[in-house]
């Protein structure tokens, strides 16, 4: 069985009288240690997929497995535990706690985990050893996003989920962040799933999943993986 697998997943949002079918019969799988990119137009359902996989949202139908566990059957408390121990999340808008320093933001996540990585070490890895005691407002967007990644990594999760991590960053910084993610995957063997709507980026992924109007239209292994530094967009 694959590390991650979606089986006939459907998601319907009930808002007032109208039902919005965000996902419909989604099937895909990702192997352990892969760098997977999900692409698709706006409103296609990418975020919905990631949220479900990240335990922040539930499915309306179908099953979701991660590392052999059926997370789609988890109750609320189990889901929290799942987020706590197994998932690392990186958002487009960083979502750092403003009142905590970079190091403390990492600690915030680390201190609730079973075997976290030392905060300082992780921050050093993301290249922020000098800025550890700065508050988010004192950091640039890219630096903040790196703190966010460090926060996700410090939890030592089974899987790293990133929803448009470069969306708010400029080209160069975005590239650096992606590089960091790719390195994490390569060097640490972490499974990383990244959402983007930039088709060009798919070149750097092991696996590319294309979403359109709530379903997977294409899922393929990338034959010629390009290093992120060599991609231009």
């Amino acid at each position: 069985m694959s590390f991650v697998s979606f089986e006939h997943v459907g998601k319907t949002y009930h808002t007032g009288e109208v039902d919005i079918k965000a996902l419909n019969d989604v099937n895909f799988s990702v192997e352990q240690g892969e760098f997977c990119i999900i692409v698709g137009a706006s409103g296609a359902g990418k975020t919905t997929i990631l949220n479900i996989l990240g335990g922040m949202d539930t499915v309306s139908e179908g099953k979701v497995f991660l590392d052999g566990n059926e997370i789609s059957s988890y109750k609320k408390k189990q889901l929290t535990g799942y987020r706590r121990y197994d998932v690392g999340f990186v958002f487009q808008f960083y979502n750092l706690v403003q009142n905590l320093t970079a190091k403390e933001n990492v600690e915030l996540a680390a201190q609730i985990c079973k075997n976290p990585l030392p905060a300082e070490e992780v921050l050093k890895e993301v290249g922020l050893s000098e800025r550890m005691n700065n508050f988010p407002s004192q950091l640039s967007g890219g630096e903040q996003q790196r703190v966010a990644i460090a926060r996700a990594l410090a939890k030592n999760p089974k899987i790293l989920l990133c929803d448009e991590p470069t969306g708010a960053l400029d080209y160069v910084t975005g590239k650096a962040v992606l590089k960091l993610l790719q390195d994490t995957c390569r060097k640490k063997g972490k499974t990383v799933i990244v959402i983007t709507h930039n088709q060009a980026l798919t070149a750097m992924a092991d696996r590319i999943i294309t979403v359109k109007s709530g379903t997977i239209t294409d899922m393929r292994k990338n034959a010629s993986i390009v290093d992120v530094e060599d991609i231009d967009w």
């Binding site: 929290t80 706590r84 403003q98 508050f135 926060r151």
Partner: protein, 903 residues
């Protein structure tokens, strides 16, 4: 305003119903408390005014030392401004109730116009042997019962009544007695227990003891205009009363003079008659002598005549003379002076009469009501402002937060081309409608509930019918204006700031408030020992300064209110206990019928020694100071062992020396009221208007009634004689039941009254239960306020930090941990607030107590330590409760939605 915008506003209200209701509630509480308390005194005054006007309460009571002729009333009625004048008879009498109890009753004659009554139950008398009764003292069960004039009344008094018993047919309230006190009397134990009214015909009297006058105009109670008005006519009425009394006196004196003259005349006549009788007696004696002589002569001649001797004519003349001698006349009796003459002799001329005009300001109820209703006003002056301040604060923060939260939306609306006015309107409508509903609701509820509850509490002391509600435009307008300023005004200001920014700026997320190190971090010793999550809380607490002050102020306000509430209860409730535990340490006070020389035989018989009781004299006098006068008791002491029965000490518990000659010890309440201090000169004025000047030598702790203590020399020195020692303080033996002792003492003929301290303590404690109602209102309001403040602040806290909360939820914080993370700082703030509230509460309490005055009872201004603890715990528990009830809200924070957008 476009339809869509209105729709968006209404949806806004629906979506943030909690906040909307919170604004409504806080305004309602603020307005309700403010308007309710502020309206209470006017309502109470209106009630009494209404009652006075309905019953035509007198403006003047005319009394004279000799009473008034029944015809005098007409003369008074002719005086300027007189609306109505009624003569009435007022006597004090000892009566016996059916249940066997004997009490002192003020017996009034029924009047028709002035001082009319309010019938509470039954009917008015139709026969002269029926009466109506004091409805404050007696229950309706008295209807149909008989009240008997006690036999031990003075004969002279009993003669003034046609009947010796009266059937109760109705229960009434009289404007003369709106308060529970019924006045003093020389009878019984010196205090009138109740009043009753009987028809004028039931009195066997041909004069009135007083004339009650109602003038034409009505004024607001205690208004200066009224004082001027009655002052203006007082002299007219006084001189008229004096003239009438003078005429009456003159007439009586004339009659006496005439009677005395008659007696005098009769006496001379008798003397004359006596002289004549003497004369007659002499003549009779002569006559008898002549007769005897003639008879002797005739007796000598008779034999000759019998024998037929012719007698010479000169000898025959003896017989003719004897025959012609007149019969011995009956001596007229000496006329006796009639018995009455002696009485007439003893008659003394009436002294020059005195007449008085007694205004309403001599009526206990009228006077006391002014100060007693002031209690409420005292509270009303402090509390509501506090409430309003907190309410305003909450409103400000809430609305400010809301406008800030909706920056982006404002930007969008602007970008869409909505004018500033329309956008402004949306928020003004939101805040304004909430405030308006809250204001109207709070006003209605507050002005109904508070006066009603407080009037109920006053019902224990005052008796003047159901509460009259007055609507005050001024108050309503003030409430509305303040409510609107707090809500719409603030919203307007916050909106202005946002609206001046350009749309594009608005749509960009506002830079999040930067994190900052707090001072604690520079104390590594402390900082390093604080758990990581607690560091977050501490940083948050000090990061949001405005929220910090809001929260601390709001919560300290609640704690302060609670302390003040509990404290009022402590101060009131402790009074009786302190009085009888450390001041009046004797067991019972006894008044005897006759003066006690040294030993009171009864007590000696009962096995008490002279050491067990203390004999002294107690008189009711007026304490006259520069700032006014006050009727109180003067205890004249002769012995120095007084301290064993009554502890004379200062409020600081330092003993006070026994007063020396010319010195007096006054109780703290009087000292406070008239600003007296040791060394001041005051005057004690007796009922007979004699004055005793004294110097204050001490101010003692005493909570129940007002007392002045002087030495006997002081009394003797000024008044020439010693007061009658009729009062005894008794200490029962260890283990005796004081009630049983008092009962057996009361059985004695020589004892007038016995009052057991234990019973007084209970009575005061019961009376104070009524005051508790006010306290409970305060506590309930404080609780409500605390709840709304905490709810609002917590709500703001959560909405402000929604992203942070969503983030930590994503990170996998369990529900409990999330709550702890968010609420820890709220609780810390609550604890800080509660701490700040402690001294604040003490101040507030002292301030309120300074505004509260009740006659006869002095409150001890103190707050029990347990009350501080309670207030503190209550606040923290409230805070915890509110926070836990918000736990659900945290649970509902949607991670995906909260993190999706920037704001």
């Amino acid at each position: 305003m476009s339809k869509r915008l209105l729709q968006s506003t209404l949806r806004e209200i629906r979506n943030s119903l909690g906040r909307y209701i919170a604004i409504m509630a806080i305004i309602a509480i603020g307005v309700g408390f403010f308007a309710g308390l502020k309206n209470t005194q006017p309502d109470m005054l209106a009630t009494i005014k209404h009652f006075y006007e309905k019953t035509n309460f007198h403006d003047y009571r005319l009394v004279s030392t000799i009473g008034f002729d029944k015809e005098s009333v007409d003369a008074i009625a002719q005086l300027p401004e007189c609306n109505a004048a009624c003569g009435s008879i007022v006597l004090d009498a000892l009566v016996t109730l059916e249940e066997g109890r004997g009490i002192v009753m003020k017996v009034h004659s029924l009047t028709e116009t002035v001082d009319a009554l309010e019938l509470v139950a039954g009917r008015y008398p139709q026969n002269p042997n029926e009466c109506v009764l004091d409805s404050y003292v007696f229950s309706d069960e008295m209807l149909g019962q008989t009240i008997v004039l006690a036999e031990n009344n003075e004969e002279e008094l009993l003669e003034k009544f046609v009947y010796d018993s009266f059937t109760v047919v109705g229960m009434v309230t009289s404007p003369v007695y709106i308060q529970y006190e019924r006045g003093n009397t020389p009878l019984g134990r010196g205090v009138v227990d109740a009043y009753m009214l009987i028809p004028e015909d039931a009195f066997d009297m041909d004069y009135y003891t007083e004339i009650d006058v109602k003038l034409n105009q009505n004024f607001e109670l205690y208004d200066d205009a009224y004082k001027n008005y009655v002052d203006e006519y007082e002299e007219t009425y006084k001189s008229a009363a004096l003239t009438l009394a003078q005429e009456r006196t003159d007439r009586f004196n004339d009659e006496i003079r005439e009677a005395k003259q008659e007696v005098e005349d009769a006496r001379t006549q008798i003397e004359d008659a006596k002289a004549q009788i003497e004369e007659a007696k002499k003549q009779i004696e002569e006559l008898e002598k002549t007769r005897a002589e003639l008879e002797e002569a005739a007796a000598k001649l008779q034999p000759y005549l019998d024998m037929g001797y012719p007698l010479p004519p000169e000898q025959m003349a003896v017989f003719t003379a004897l025959e012609q001698l007149p019969e011995t006349p009956e001596l007229p009796e000496i006329p006796e002076l009639p018995e009455e003459a002696k009485e007439v002799d003893e008659l003394e001329y009436f002294e020059e009469p005195q007449a008085y005009v007694l205004g309403r300001d001599t009526n206990i109820g009228y006077v006391c009501f002014e100060s007693d209703s002031g209690i409420v006003d005292g509270i009303a002056n402090v509390f509501p402002i506090f409430f309003f301040a907190v309410a305003a604060l909450v409103c400000v923060t809430t609305m400010n937060r809301m406008v800030e939260e909706q920056r982006t939306q404002i930007g969008v609306l602007k970008a869409l081309g909505y004018g500033d006015g329309a956008i402004l309107f949306k928020y003004l409508f939101y805040a304004g409608s909430a405030a308006l509903i809250g204001c109207v609701g709070g006003y209605c509820l507050g002005t109904w509930m508070f006066p009603k509850a407080i009037w109920y509490a006053y019902g224990m002391m005052y008796n003047a019918g159901p509460l009259v509600f007055v609507f005050s435009w001024k108050l309503a307008v003030i409430s509305l204006v303040v409510a609107m300023l707090c809500s719409m005004g603030i919203t307007f200001l916050s909106c202005r700031v946002q609206l001046t920014e350009r749309a594009a700026m608005l749509m960009r997320p506002k830079a999040p408030k930067a994190g900052k190190r707090i001072f604690l971090e520079y104390i590594p010793f402390l900082w390093n020992h604080i758990g990581f999550l607690k560091k977050v809380s501490f940083r948050n607490i000090f990061r949001y300064k405005r929220r910090f002050f809001m929260m601390v102020l709001g919560i300290s306000g609640c704690t302060a209110l609670l302390i003040a509430g509990f404290g009022i209860k402590d101060s009131i409730a402790g009074v009786a206990n302190m009085q009888y535990d450390r001041v009046a340490i004797y067991d019972m006070g006894i008044t005897t019928k006759d003066e006690v020389e040294n030993e009171f035989p009864l007590l000696q018989e009962m096995g008490y020694t002279r050491d067990d009781y203390f004999v002294f004299a107690e008189n009711s006098m007026d304490l006259v100071t520069e700032e006014g006068s006050k009727s109180l008791y003067v205890a004249t002491l002769t012995e120095d062992k007084f301290d064993q029965f009554y502890s004379l000490h200062t409020l600081k518990q330092e003993p006070i020396a026994f007063p020396k000659k010319g010195e007096a010890v006054v109780n703290c309440r009087m000292a406070e009221q008239f600003h007296l201090s040791v060394g001041d000169q005051v005057i004690l004025r007796t009922d007979a208007l004699q004055e005793i000047p004294v110097t204050i030598s001490g101010i003692n702790e005493n909570f129940v009634y007002n007392y002045v203590y002087i030495a006997e020399e002081t009394y003797v020195d000024t008044l020439g004689k010693a007061p009658q020692r009729k009062n005894i303080y008794l200490k029962a033996h260890e283990g005796e039941d004081v009630r049983e002792v008092s009962a057996s003492i009361l059985e004695s003929e020589d004892v007038a009254t016995v009052s057991v301290n234990e019973e007084t303590r209970e009575r005061i404690n019961t009376m104070m239960v009524s005051m508790n109602i006010i306290v409970y209102i305060v506590i309930a309001c404080a609780a409500a306020l605390a709840f709304v403040v905490l709810y609002n602040l917590t709500n703001i806290n959560i909405t402000e930090r929604i992203r942070e909360i969503a983030t930590i939820k994503v990170l996998g914080f369990f529900q409990r941990e999330t709550c702890a993370y968010v609420f820890r700082e709220n609780l810390i703030l609550a604890v800080i607030g509660a701490f700040v509230g402690l001294p604040l509460g003490k101040l507030l309490h002292a301030f309120i107590m300074a505004n509260i005055r009740v006659d006869l009872i002095t409150f001890a201004v103190y707050v029990k330590p347990i009350s501080y603890i309670f207030a503190f715990l209550f606040t923290v528990v409230f805070a915890a409760l509110v926070n836990f009830s918000m736990g659900g809200k945290l649970d509902r924070v949607n991670m995906t939605e909260s993190l999706k957008s920037v704001d």
